[in-house]
């Protein structure tokens, strides 16, 4: 009996490892297909993108690295698709050095060419933007003065869309969409774009960062996408099926497993304390 208590108190590491891996693999193989409740934040984000007109320009900060790809890529894909549906043009910069290397994989999922989108005319990636907040201000003033070439070193003179931007750039931009895992990046964009010029803005931070963005919503930031979960809701709500929808089952399973661990830990602790006393 005493050993039982002890066992509940100290479950070895490999059990967590197997239980989590096993349960997540199981739910991927045999999905429940549960709906995910769509929150107001996501509906607002959808409305902002849906309000775009043909020919409007969206500025995206494609600012994720390899580490947070699962939180950011689905949102990027679905919003890009939605923007194409509305006929809006897309220009991108990136606050992550890894973004240009990860872009091709995401574009393969978006397939802009299927919608007749041509690189250089309908969308551009300018590449990595170093220099923090001062640089955000600089590109909003004059993007063609900051960059001389795009992310693959094609001179901007060969890209017609870049020629349209000119100075001041911010007057041509209808929406700013920020994807980032950095709190200072998200808030920097708010200060430089939303506060300074009142350009509509949507943000997609990591799930756990959302509370720090909420103080700016809905005055400065009109839509907040709650990481990958928000992307799943967006996919469901907008009707552009994607990868993130499958997440719902994973969240249910993973959350339940953690709840069980939490309860087991406390039962073990309680039993041990009772035994000790």
């Amino acid at each position: 009996m005493a050993t039982d208590k002890h066992r509940l108190e100290t479950i070895p590491n490999w059990i967590f490892f197997l239980v989590i891996l096993g349960s997540m693999a199981y739910i991927t193989l045999y999905p429940l297909g549960l709906p995910i409740p769509v929150t107001q934040l996501t509906k607002d984000t959808y409305a902002v993108v849906d309000a775009l007109n043909e020919g409007d320009i969206i500025l995206m900060d494609h600012g994720y690295g390899a580490g947070t790809i699962a939180s950011h890529e689905p949102g990027f894909v679905v919003i890009f698709k939605h923007a194409m549906e509305k006929g809006a043009k897309v220009i991108m910069v990136s606050t992550s050095v890894e973004s240009p290397l990860l872009l091709d994989a995401a574009i393969a999922k978006i397939k802009p060419e299927a919608k007749g989108y041509v690189y250089g005319e309908d969308w551009i990636h300018f590449g990595y933007l170093s220099g923090g907040e001062a640089a955000y201000a600089a590109i909003l003033d004059d993007i063609t003065g900051t960059f001389t070439a795009d992310y693959e070193d094609t001179p901007l003179s060969q890209l017609p869309l870049a020629q349209e931007l000119g100075s001041p750039t911010w007057q041509k931009i209808a929406l700013v969409y920020v994807m980032s895992a950095g709190g200072d990046v998200c808030e920097g964009w708010i200060r430089q774009s939303a506060v300074r010029f009142d350009i509509p803005m949507i943000q997609q931070p990591l799930e756990m960062m959302v509370p720090t963005i909420l103080p700016y919503y809905p005055i400065n930031v009109q839509g907040v996408l709650n990481g990958g979960i928000g992307a799943a809701e967006y996919e469901l709500f907008s009707g552009f099926p994607g990868e993130a929808v499958k997440l719902s089952d994973m969240l249910s399973m993973g959350g339940l497993v953690h709840l069980i661990f939490l309860i087991l830990g406390n039962i073990g602790f309680f039993l041990k304390r009772k035994g000790g006393a």
Binding site: N13, V97, G132, A181, G183, D184, M208, M209, T212
Partner: protein, 258 residues
């Protein structure tokens, strides 16, 4: 040349903080400071490591492009002053200290901090012989985990700037039996330290470290400045709330938009 609109109150506040700080520093008043048990605990933790003959690991010196040049630099400076403090105790006891490096701009500085600590204890040769091992380059959290298993440290000081890796390293170092003293000003990471570490510093407590360890009147005066401005913040919040409730927020709001 013109002043940027909307930032005037910021400027005035900054100048006021400088003025009050300088006044208090030069007036050399005596300042009382409350106890910070987590910092007192460092000595005990290092002592424990010496008894067990196991090393001490210190982390928290920025990461990649977020080094001394970035806006987390105050946290890194705080982390470095703790590193200096801990390194002196380690040098005295003959305990090995390992400071993991993730940011290129911090590496030469951490080198200087450790060198100074060992010099002050008269053990410079000891440091020169093994400095590469004492400042290992750990560019990712997996390396830090491996380091924990390899060194099995008795004490783990995780004070400074942290990102997503915080929960992982705290959990692993805890599971290999290190006593942990945690603290960071990065909002997202405080919860893990609060939950996992044996002793923790919440948020700005890490900035009080230099003053707490050295106790020079000048350092304490700057902490006092911080407190006075905190009191002013409290007063402003109360005032603003009263005025809002009474529907007379206009002038105060205008001041904040200045």
């Amino acid at each position: 040349m013109e002043l940027v609109a909307g930032r005037m109150l910021d400027l005035v506040t900054l100048i006021a903080m400088w003025a009050v700080a300088l006044f208090l520093i030069y007036s050399k008043r005596e300042v009382w400071i409350r106890r910070l048990p987590a910092l007192d605990f460092i000595e005990e933790a290092v002592g424990r490591a010496a008894e067990m003959g196991r090393p001490v690991v210190a982390q928290g010196f920025g990461s990649g492009s977020s080094g001394l040049q970035s806006s987390v630099s105050p946290m890194i400076v705080a982390a470095l002053s703790i590193l200096g403090h801990a390194a002196r105790i380690c040098a005295r006891h003959g305990t090995q200290i390992v400071a993991t490096m993730r940011s290129e701009s911090v590496l030469p500085v951490a080198d200087e901090v450790l060198r100074t600590a060992y010099r002050l204890e008269g053990k410079l040769e000891e440091y020169e012989a093994r400095k590469e091992e004492m400042l290992p380059w750990t560019p990712n959290q997996a390396t830090m985990v491996a380091l924990a298993y390899e060194l099995r440290p008795a004490a783990h000081i995780i004070i400074g700037a942290f990102w997503h890796e915080s929960v992982q390293i705290a959990e692993v170092f805890g599971s290999v039996g290190a006593v942990q003293i945690g603290g960071t000003g990065r909002l997202y990471q405080i919860p893990f330290f609060a939950a996992i570490c044996d002793m923790n510093l919440i948020g700005e407590e890490i900035y009080a470290v230099g003053a707490y360890i050295n106790r020079t009147p000048q350092m304490l005066a700057s902490i006092a400045t911080q407190d006075y401005f905190k009191l002013i913040s409290v007063a402003l919040i109360i005032l603003g709330t009263l005025l809002t409730t009474l529907g007379m927020i206009g002038p105060l709001d205008a001041l904040f938009k200045w």
